[in-house]
Amino acid sequence: MKHLTFRTAASFLLPLLLLFSVFILLRGHYLPGGGFVGGIIASIAFVLHAFAFGLGQTRKLLRIRPMGLMPVGLALAVFAAVLPLFQGLPLLTGLWLSKPIPVIGLVGNALLFDLGVYIVVLGVALTIIFSISEAV
């Protein structure tokens, strides 16, 4: 697995896949995709990296433990969900910025929410796979 070409490929693939995952996340509101699939793709990117360079390297690259991603993502999602509460609206009511942002399109709390999903899924997938690989 630690073959040189694979390593090289992996080191290139990581940023590419990450970029692709963000792309999938952002376009989710218009075309197939979304936070969930985006998160999975991102985690596959890291898993490939881990196969190529070993878990230790990937952990170093990640800086934070994958476990730590989960509360962050959850907090983001909940924040997006409760935002309307402060305006006296029910949970998860859609709130939108009036002007679209270039490339991304309209931005609202739904996007924030999807971002939370993305981060949670990334954290979950990495936690599970990393701990299994370490335990094997």
């Binding site: 218009y30 075309l31 197939p32 969930f36 979950v124 599970i128 299994i132 335990a135």
Partner: protein, 119 residues
């Protein structure tokens, strides 16, 4: 097509249950996965099958046309798939843990109903 899919669904249910009745813990979990797949397909089937019309609003329109696949079951299945994934990965790790603790995946080795409280 619906008929064949319904048969497939039934087959998935049957095989899932059958595997759950086996002695191997691994087979049990495979059975659970198949059962989960069967349920997802059932939701899909009962939501109505539509070919080649994904529930995506075309660039030019602001709403879906006359014929489109029902998006609601799809959303439900998506949620269900993800949840099943959580449960399945837990189950898979449980197999491992069972093996570590009990040293077998033979279900008949782990049927003691008595508690050993001598630890």
């Amino acid at each position: 097509m619906e008929i064949i899919l319904a048969v497939i669904v039934g087959l998935l249910y049957a095989s899932g249950i059958y595997l759950m009745l086996r002695r191997s813990l691994v087979k049990l979990v495979v059975g659970l996965v198949l059962l989960g797949n069967g349920v997802n397909l059932l939701i899909f089937l009962l939501g109505g099958l539509v070919r080649g019309k994904p529930p995506l609003i075309p660039d030019t329109a602001t709403y879906l046309g006359q014929v489109y696949a029902d998006p609601v079951p799809q959303a439900l299945i998506l949620t269900a798939i993800v949840i099943s994934f959580g449960l399945q990965s837990f189950a898979i790790v449980l197999i491992k843990r069972t093996y570590v603790v009990v040293n077998t995946d033979d279900m008949d080795q782990i049927h003691s109903t008595e508690e050993d409280d001598d630890y």
